[in-house]
Each structure stands twice: as structure tokens, then as C-alpha cells.
């Protein structure tokens, strides 16, 4: 574990993809060489001005960046505590931060001459973002999605189909995000010659956690610049929801060396951290190995991965990006949890008070930020990553409310 001052020169991961004891590449042999090729290609992209230009061109003209940093004055006044600011990733094309990453990875795929894209999805936001970019680039696209999620995110399934993607409903295991990832891995190992796997979060084997973070860190870079220009200085705290953790790392990463800025990742407590119906590996799990990297996982004493629960499909995952595991153990970031009920309440509050309908995933971050604002008090500032919009969740919310 490194001490606080070492965050002044934060360069992780190391060349083998390790964040301290976490991360690495735990893949089956067939994938080792293809992953190595991806790593080499990505390193080339990183040092290529043309790649950077293309990426930023797409983010600006296709996605609509930069996204606003919005001072939520109504909510701030209602809470009566710290100032709340929202980084409006919900305003991106396709409705969430996910597209930042799919644009980047699709550009890498194109350079590698791959003609077929696969992806896993939980809430369907990453699936939609992948199907979108595949449609634009004329690539074949297959999205794996757990059967349970196919039902609760029907609208996104239809969107993906409209975009020309094939959506495969995964019926193995717990039929949610982790099983979709297993199935995508199986596809990849079978079709590795022509297929590029666009992983949607900062998990998977190295270089994925690093690559996805790099693409998503546009969120934090913009936030830093905007905050300083609009309000001056640095915020006191950052808050983001954590499933796999891509929107959180995207916001956090550019601030890691600014140790005055507190960082809070919000996991899904589901029906409660005391029950076994949660999705909170950083709060309730232990270090293990899942989906190609060492990280905190929810599992039993036999090492069987636990079946998680959350009201939001996008947080319903038993693992978490390895960099979050590192930030937790090193004390740089704190990881808290918010249950289904609190998230739903925040969903309604934000909708009514600010006229912003957040995704249920994002509602977890909002719920914790409201608590934190009260604790920190007036004069402090909190930036919340408003990672996605809630249109996709309207059916879920409607069913929970009964007829209104």
C-alpha cells in the first residue's frame, strides 16, 4: 500500500496491468496473444496524435461533448448543505457516459482491422452505445445480455435491435451482467480472429481497465477545467456510482493526485448490506479473481461468485474494476453503499426538484451526495457524476409505484 504523498506521482497500472495486488491478466491461454496484440495496438494509439484527434473529433461532433457542469441550485437550497454540481453525462448521445468508451474502443478495433464487435451489457446502456458506434462504422454487432436484464430493460433491447445489433439473451447462471460477460468471453475465444470485444467497464484483463479508464477520464478532465473556470479552484468532493466503476474512475482519475479532493464511490446496497441481496463487493466482498483480473468480489467461502441484487441493472455485478480495489485499500477513495429504497427516493427528488430524470444507477450517487452535502455543510462543494438519464428505467419505476 502506498502512502498519501505517493499519489503525487500516480502512474498505475504497471506494465503488467497491476494496481498494487489488483488487476493483471487472468485469461485463458487462447486469449493471451490476442490481448497482447490489443495492448500493443492501444499503446500505439496512445502515442498517435491522429488517434487523439479522431477520438476528440467524435466526442465533440458525434457525442456532443463537452457536457455541462451544472450547479444544482434548487437541490442545494432544498438540502441546505454543500453546493451540489452535476457533471451532465446524461446529455451525451445515447444517454450515458458509456459512449465515451465505445467510441474509443471502436477506433482501436477499426485500426486492428476487426469486422465484428461484441459486447456485454447490464442496463443496456453499454449495449446501446456499442450498437450505435457499430452502426456508424458499419461493423457487425452482437450484444450479450442476461435474460433477467432483457426483461427489465426491454426498451434498450429494442433500441439495440433498431440499431442493427443482434441481442443474445443469456440464460446461464444468474442470468445477469456477470453471465453476459462469461458468454461474451466464450464468443470472443471462439471468434478471436475477426472479433473485437468492447468491454463496457473498467474490468476484464489488462489492458481493458486502463484503456477504458483513459477513454472515460475525459469526464474528470473536463470537470476539473470547468470547475476551476466557473467556480474557481477544486471541488471538495467527488461522488459517483460504482458497478464495474467506469463512470467513477472517469471522474476520479484526473483528481487522484489532488489529494485535497475526497472521492466517494457509491455501490448498490440492494435490499441492504446485511442481507445477501446487494451488489457491493468493495463494502462486503474480498479480494479474488473474476473475469480476468484480481479485484474485490462478492463470493462465498468456496469461491463461488455470489448472485447480486440491485434495483438498477447496471450496478448488478459481483466484481468491480481493479483500480477501485486499489483506491480503496490505499485509502485514496472511500466506498459507501446506498440501498434500493434510498436510490429510488433520490430518483424522485432529482426529477421533481431539478427536472432531471436520472438513471437508477446514477440515483445511487445522487442519494449519497444528498447525505454528504448535509454532513459537509455550507460552503463546501460536491461534484456528482450524473452518469446517465433515466428514460430506460421508467417501466421499472412505474411498476414499483403501481398506478399513479
Amino acid at each position: 500500500m502506498m502512502n498519501q504523498k505517493d499519489f503525487k506521482h500516480y502512474t498505475l497500472p504497471d506494465e503488467k496491468g497491476h494496481f498494487g495486488i489488483f488487476g493483471g491478466n487472468f485469461s485463458s491461454e487462447t486469449l493471451i496473444d490476442p490481448i497482447k496484440r490489443l495492448e500493443i495496438e492501444y499503446e500505439k494509439c496512445k502515442n498517435d496524435k491522429l488517434f487523439e484527434q479522431e477520438f476528440h473529433y467524435d466526442l465533440k461532433h458525434y457525442v456532443g461533448r463537452e457536457t455541462p457542469l451544472y450547479f444544482a441550485e434548487n437541490l442545494t437550497n432544498k438540502i441546505g448543505g454543500a453546493n451540489l454540481y452535476f457533471k451532465r453525462e446524461d446529455l451525451n448521445h445515447t444517454g450515458a457516459h458509456k459512449v465515451n468508451n465505445t467510441i474509443g474502443q471502436a477506433l482501436v478495433a477499426k485500426r486492428m482491422g476487426k469486422t465484428r464487435i461484441i459486447a456485454e451489457t447490464g442496463a443496456g446502456q453499454h449495449g446501446v452505445a456499442t450498437a450505435t458506434i457499430a452502426a456508424r462504422l458499419g461493423l457487425k454487432c452482437v450484444v450479450y445480455m442476461g435474460e433477467v436484464d432483457v426483461k427489465r430493460q426491454a426498451l434498450n433491447v429494442f433500441r439495440m435491435k433498431l440499431l442493427g445489433a443482434e441481442v443474445v439473451s443469456v440464460t446461464s447462471g444468474s442470468k445477469t451482467l456477470k453471465d453476459a460477460l462469461n458468454e461474451a468471453m466464450r464468443d470472443w475465444v471462439t471468434n478471436v480472429d475477426d472479433t473485437f470485444y468492447i468491454i463496457g467497464t473498467v474490468a476484464g484483463p489488462h489492458p481493458y481497465p486502463m484503456m477504458v479508464r483513459d477513454f472515460q477520464s475525459v469526464i474528470g478532465k473536463e470537470t476539473k477545467k470547468q470547475f476551476s473556470e466557473q467556480f474557481g479552484g477544486l471541488p471538495d468532493a467527488l461522488v459517483a456510482c460504482v458497478g464495474g466503476g467506469s463512470n467513477a474512475i472517469g471522474l476520479f482519475h484526473p483528481f487522484i493526485e489532488d489529494t485535497s479532493v475526497e472521492m466517494y464511490g457509491v455501490e448498490a446496497a440492494g435490499l441492504g448490506l446485511d442481507t445477501d441481496k446487494h451488489s457491493a463487493p468493495l463494502n462486503k466482498g474480498k479480494p479474488g479473481v473474476l473475469h480476468g483480473n484480481r479485484t474485490y468480489v462478492v463470493c462465498d467461502q468456496n469461491g463461488q461468485i455470489g448472485e447480486t441484487h440491485s434495483i438498477s441493472a447496471g450496478l448488478d455485478y459481483p466484481g468491480v474494476g481493479p483500480e477501485h480495489s486499489y483506491l480503496k485499500d490505499s485509502g485514496r477513495a472511500k466506498y459507501v453503499a446506498v440501498d434500493d429504497h434510498e436510490a429510488l427516493e433520490a430518483f424522485h427528488t432529482l426529477t421533481r426538484v431539478e427536472g432531471i430524470l436520472p438513471a437508477l444507477e446514477t440515483s445511487h450517487a445522487v442519494a449519497y451526495a444528498i447525505k454528504l452535502a448535509k454532513e459537509m455543510g455550507k460552503g463546501k462543494s460536491i461534484v456528482v457524476n450524473l452518469s446517465g438519464r433515466g428514460d430506460k428505467d421508467i417501466d421499472t419505476v412505474k411498476n414499483l409505484m403501481g398506478n399513479i
Partner: protein
Amino acid sequence: MSKISSVFQDLKDKNQKAFIPFITAGDGGMELTLELMHQLVDDGASIIELGVPFSDPMADGPVIAKSHERSVARGYGLANVLELVSKFRETNDTTPIVLMGYLNPIEMFGYEDFANAARSAGVDGVLVVDMPPEESQELKRILSNSEIDFIFLVAPTTTDERLKFLSQVASGFIYFVSLKGVTGAGNINVDEVASNLSRIRKYISLPVGVGFGIKDGKTAKEISAKSDAIIVGSVLVSIVDEFSNDKNKLMSQMKEKSLEISQVLR
């Protein structure tokens, strides 16, 4: 010399090839697995590979993945598999046992504790699908202290450079994955396997077993001309599934399939 190495040496002296059946431990119950293990030995198994039930068997195709699910649903895990091996050892002290599984159960057990428990149970080799040699230094050291062979996969995508590296860490034998895909997939291409095997032999002197996609005696015979062992999994596991309600039939079908393969290797 490890038990696995001496089995290969004996077979070589007799100009025979090894038959390595794979079944998932606990699929149909641990009692059934134990009975199957003894029968497999009677029907010509040189080494037995036991799948360690795991909730997320990413590298396995539908047949073996479902067998993991069935065994996990019975509540089985690594500790139960080690118990099974101990029971098997009560009456068989010669047939090598290889555990094949995923890393997370071993992480939870703890490397040292696992190596000690595996050794006293009578395990001879360990193959961890999602642990490439680059990440395996610590487990390698601990397993070799316990005199357990660390078996690694080689795939068609494995480069010559990696073969050199693998030759330094692998022991017991090499498991060559015959095709790009999951267990039980498609049809094996005999010529392609042959050319990969001669590539492997340039760098690695260990015996080489071939698995993934071998379903019958005919293919086993063709592949065995170039390799040291034939590994058969999915087709056996599907018998356990198909005849789960008729044990006599299950045992007789398993016998028939085992003999079909083992006889062509003698």
C-alpha cells in the same frame, strides 16, 4: 519422478498413449463421481481429470458449463473435491488425479492451504484455466514444494516465444487446446493439430495431451498418432447429464465410450 511423469514413461515404453477422461466432480453427486472414477480406471483411464465446480466457468462450452452449474447447485466446492480425491485414494494409489478449474476457489482457499490439502488428499496435478504463467509464480512455487505438477494450456494462438516461457514453468504434461473456442466446440482439424504439435515439440519436451473437440475413437486414434495423450470431456459429461435418471444406463454408456477411446490408444 512425479506420478504423472512415470505414467507417461510407462506408456512410452509400451508404445501406448494416455487416455485422460474429464468429468466434473459432484455432477450427479459425489458418490456417482467416485464410482465413475473407479470405472474409468477399469476401462483404461491413465490419468483422471476432475473439474472443480465453479459458478462462472468462462472457458467452458454449454455442456461442461451446465455440469458446473449442477454441481454448484448441490453446494459443492473445492473442499468437497479434495474429500472425493481422499476417498478415491482409499482404494487406488496409482492413477494420477489432476484438478482442472478456475482460480477464484483456490484464492479463497489460500495457496498454501490448498497445496497442503491437495497433497494430503492425493492430488497429482493442478490446471487453472484462468491463470496464465505470467501470473503464476507464487502458486507455482507453492505447488512444487508440495510436489504437485502445474499443468498449463497451450492454444493455437500461443506464440513460439510463449512456448519457450511455458517450457520453464509447466510440469507433468502440456494440455493442447485443439481449437479456438470453448470446451466441446466444433470439429477438430487433424492436420492443423499435427502442425501445432510439431511446433510445440520444438520448445517443450513434456508429454503433450490434446483436448477440446475429441468425441470418438476414430478422432482419438488420428490425433494420438501425433500426441502423447487424448483428453475427452464434453462427450462424457453429456452422458452424465443425459442419463441422470437411469444410473445403470449411465454407467454402461460411460463404459462403452471409455472403451471406444482407450482401446484405440493401446
